[in-house]
């Protein structure tokens, strides 16, 4: 185990940026939040010379049932890897401080904040994101179906986090009361304050999961 982190020098960055249009670079900076980190990983596909950023290691993580090979920095969070390297942008980053729940994913079936989990710590785990919930033929997960039927969210930025937290909670308690479900998903915030409709929708999803509800 050795220290692998040298800052990429400027010439290295310029090399990586060759062939990247100004527009794409700016998009990348916005998406990644910083020029250096964005340049070193967002545009790998568009550069002929694949200069892996310092400190990245090629690891395999199981996401949504598929083994994905990906270069990951040691200090990289799972939310970063999912969104910016694997393109799974259904997982949102809200606070990036384990205080809002938008980044919730299931790790071995357990709801956790992906913004506060290092990717290197889930190498042997199964990660499930919102993209992996629907069946291959497009049939939605019952919780997703319940949300559509009850129109549970307003802006829905927090929705994927709520859905993943609910799916994880319903595995431990498939038939919760409204209060139990509220406690189960209390680690997720909705800035629109739409909690009442969210709970109704998620309870509807739970009903569909149990096979009790007839679809609208």
């Amino acid at each position: 185990m050795e220290v692998m982190f040298d800052m990429p020098d400027e010439s290295n960055i310029k090399e990586v940026l060759k062939g990247v249009s100004r527009r794409k670079f700016i998009q990348g900076v916005i998406a990644g939040g910083a020029g250096v980190s964005a340049a070193t990983y967002l545009f790998r596909a568009s550069t002929a010379t694949s200069a892996a950023s310092a400190g990245e290691r090629l690891i395999t993580i199981n996401v949504n049932g598929r083994d994905r090979r990906v270069d990951v920095m040691k200090q990289e969070t799972l939310a970063m890897t999912l969104r910016y390297k694997l393109g799974l942008t259904g997982t949102k980053i809200g606070c990036d401080r384990a205080e809002c729940g938008a980044c919730t994913v299931l790790i071995d079936g357990v709801p956790r904040y992906s913004c506060s989990t290092l990717t290197h710590t889930v190498r042997n785990a199964k990660v499930l994101t919102i993209e992996g919930l629907a069946k291959e033929d497009g049939t939605l997960h019952p919780v997703q179906q319940g949300i559509i039927e009850e129109q549970g969210f307003q802006c829905a930025f927090c929705m994927s986090g709520f859905v993943m937290a609910s799916v994880g909670f319903l595995q431990t308690n498939p038939n919760p009361t409204r209060a139990e479900l509220a406690h189960g998903i209390s680690g997720n915030l909705c800035r629109c304050q739409d909690y009442d409709k969210i709970l109704t929708a998620l309870l509807r999803g739970a009903e569909i999961m149990r096979g009790e509800a007839t679809h609208a």
């Binding site: 185990m1 050795e2 220290v3 692998m4 982190f5 939040g33 910083a34 980190s37 400190g55 920095m73 040691k74 200090q75 990289e76 969070t77 970063m80 980053i93 606070c95 990036d96 401080r97 384990a98 205080e99 729940g101 919730t104 357990v110 709801p111 956790r112 904040y113 506060s116 989990t117 290092l118 290197h120 710590t121 937290a165 909670f169 406690h183 189960g184 998903i185 209390s186 680690g187």
Partner: protein, 336 residues
């Protein structure tokens, strides 16, 4: 302070698979090493660039530090890396030491309890916003306290045993473990040592930059709860602003053995009042042998807050603590 949304600064990540290997890595790296259990207390520091450890020792792969092991004498040993959710749901703990289940259940949020560990919860650092934001205060090694000033924000701070620093211990499981007379098992290069739960914690008069006795190279491996208070009468209450995420303004935990209406044996602890969770021995001495009723609770509450010194904005904590201690002794009549 602005929230930084970039990737954390680089560190080396060491991922041992055994407690011995973890302890060795901590020993080798000394003060440069940062112990990461669930990581929830760690990432704030790292993301905000307030603490910049060179090496992170990630304990999540150390299986031997996880799990709940009931002992033959009726006690239980809980691995330091057992998640709070596992502690809350474990049937043996629920049946015999429900005080701990109650305390752990009230910590943070479901996702945090799914990842945060018992060892991490008892060892987490202070939440004083000046300290967490990187101000060069006493606790950060500086020479001033920003909270204990006429205009400082100190609503969440200490009313007892403050010494320059007025930060409080934020753990919800710690007072429950003190009330259950738990022992903390610490591994170092010199071997294993076992300390009483309350002796795991230190105030600013002893060491102003640490909340507990862990030194570089030390690893908290397990927490042992003896059978003494198994199945006793328990009371846990946590007061906070929001029902999720928030740390306790104050919390109280008590374990009482009652015989024919009198308090036979009792342990009680309060957290959020001082830099260390307080084991209220004076209250215990007073209440022993007395009837378990409101009158005893009333007197005990007064004893509990003796010597309390409020800051500008936290005087409410004195009557709050008095009443919590009263309720922890007399119980609460639930009317529906």
């Amino acid at each position: 302070m602005a929230v930084i949304r970039d990737i954390m600064p680089a560190f080396d990540l060491l991922q041992p698979s055994s407690a011995a290997e973890a302890q060795k890595l901590l020993q080798q790296n000394g003060p440069d090493a940062w112990v990461m259990a669930g990581g929830l207390d760690s990432f704030d520091w790292l993301k905000d660039r307030i603490k910049k450890p060179r090496v992170l020792v990630d304990l999540s792969g150390v299986e031997e530090l996880k799990g709940v092991r009931p002992a033959s004498d009726g006690g239980v040993e809980i691995g330091a890396m057992t998640t709070l959710t596992e502690v809350v749901r474990h049937p043996f703990i629920k049946e015999h030491f429900a005080l701990l289940s109650q305390g752990a259940e009230l910590a943070a949020s479901p996702q945090i309890r799914n990842q945060g560990t018992l060892g991490g919860n008892v060892s987490q650092d202070a939440r004083c916003h000046y300290y967490r934001a990187g101000w060069p205060c006493y606790r950060a090694g500086g020479n001033i306290c920003y909270a204990d000033t006429p205009t400082g924000r100190n609503r969440e701070h200490a009313i007892l045993n403050a010494d320059r620093c007025v930060a409080v211990n934020p753990s919800d499981s710690a007072p429950a473990l003190i009330a259950l007379d738990a022992k903390f098992v610490i591994q170092s290069s010199k071997g294993q040592r076992v300390v009483d739960a309350e002796d795991y914690y230190i105030g600013p008069d002893i060491d102003i930059t640490h909340l507990n006795i862990l030194q570089p190279g030390d690893l908290l491996t397990a927490i042992r709860i003896p059978a003494t208070y198994a199945g006793a009468t328990f009371y846990f209450e946590k007061i906070r602003d929001r029902n999720v995420w928030d740390f306790a303004l104050l919390n109280v935990a008590s374990a009482i053995k009652v015989s024919s209406g009198n308090i036979d044996q009792m342990r009680i602890a309060v957290n959020g009042a001082a830099a260390r969770p307080l084991h209220l021995t004076a209250v215990e001495q007073f209440a022993k042998g007395k009837p378990r009723n409101a009158a005893t609770g009333e007197e005990a509450g007064k004893i509990a807050v003796q010597g309390a010194v409020p800051l500008q904005f936290n005087a409410y904590k004195i009557p709050l603590m008095r009443n919590l201690v009263k309720r922890a002794i007399a119980g609460v009549e639930v009317t529906s």
